[in-house]
Symmetry: C2
Subunit: 198 residues, 2 copies
DNA sequence: GACAAAAGTAAGCAACCGCTTACCAAAAGT
DNA sequence: ACTTTTGGTAAGCGGTTGCTTACTTTTGTC
């Protein structure tokens, strides 16, 4: 009561920016791109919603920034060989760190939207699969990497978004075992002879 | 000109119902649940949009009916052993038959929406994965079936919805080979000894 | 042909969406 | 101390959404 309702904090643009970014990361992860409204984001960040557009221009650009920020950490710190494991771990243990690197589930929930899909394909999928492709020395390593990525996404879909049983309730380690074992088989060069060389 | 603009056809409730159903199947497949509006459906069916609610009650119920109708044909005619192949073929050759059994891509596009997801999980995923589980005699056959389903969905996602390259441009047969070979390895009982029997 | 049930239509409601505008107050520059 | 710049705010615009309502027209039945 000693404090006026307006200007509760001394102005701090950097703080409100990151507050918006954090709130957006949480909400995109929880509900996906479409189901998250700019009013929701602003409300959770306790910030006027017009500021969202001042700082990020549009909802789409905000989404892109959230994705980039959170994928960088995972992509740059983890060596390629452990990438499938780490991505899967991230997808399997949903609800762990909300503010952290956990936007993957949000990505999955946003596939349906055309604009969000474009961001995902152009800015994220490419860097992920290029890294994964290093794990195979087959002629079609890039394709196999995409198949691995597709599997990880699909598992996240069914488990975290669709919540399909028994996958949704399955033990994390059990799933991890199946996938890592099978992925290794997929990536190893099956066609040793290579009869058709183009 | 000899024909009045209203009542161009003699009234045929069954015809308008199936017209709505067909238009909905096409649009859901093309754009997904959320991006398809009831006005779009009614327009393509050349039917007043209020009739959609007379016949189906809500957009959600219409979606459920479309999914059920189209999955029945695939599930009841195809033997389990060929199911992965057939599902994948269906997903890979997008844009083939729009009015036919090709709503799978539409399913994928609709994952983001909570209501659509519920329909998918309860009415579809269950019957698909129960069938797939027959292909493995492992203790955790159901889980492995879910992993197969997840892969097929993920591939459809990346290829048809996200259009990620090189997967999107890859040869249909090449993808089919990789997947069928690897799925077989996943489904075969890896733990022959089965030390922990519950 | 009268009449009730069913099929079809036009219009609009209430809510929500992303985004913009006009304005105000706090900070920074001088 | 005055002005400029900038962070913050309230209000609302134009559009879309799923769905409803009040109404007209056709159809089957006697």
């Amino acid at each position: 009561m000693c404090e006026d309702r307006r200007s509760r904090r001394r102005r701090d643009p950097a703080a409100t920016r990151t507050a918006l970014l954090r709130a957006a990361a949480e909400l995109f992860a929880e509900r996906g791109f479409e189901q998250t409204t700019v009013r929701d984001v602003a409300a959770r960040a306790e910030v006027n919603q017009a500021l969202l557009f001042r700082y990020f221009g549009s909802k789409q650009e905000l989404f892109a920034e959230v994705l980039n920020r959170n994928s960088e950490t995972l992509l740059e710190t983890v060596p390629p060989a452990e990438l499938p494991r780490r991505i899967l771990e991230n997808v399997l243990s949903e609800g762990a760190v909300v503010g952290g690197e956990h936007t993957l589930v949000g990505m999955l929930r946003s596939f349906g939207d055309e604009r969000a899909a474009r961001v995902l394909r152009d800015e994220l999928g490419e860097s992920y699969s290029r890294r994964l492709a290093r794990l195979s020395d087959a002629r079609d390593a890039r394709l196999r990497a995409d198949l691995v990525l597709a599997w990880l996404f699909g598992i996240g879909m069914l488990r975290s978004v669709l919540r399909k049983s028994p996958l949704a309730e399955a033990d994390e380690r059990e799933v991890l075992d199946h996938v890592t074992r099978t992925v290794a088989l997929l990536l190893e060069n099956s066609e040793s002879g290579d009869p058709a060389e183009e």
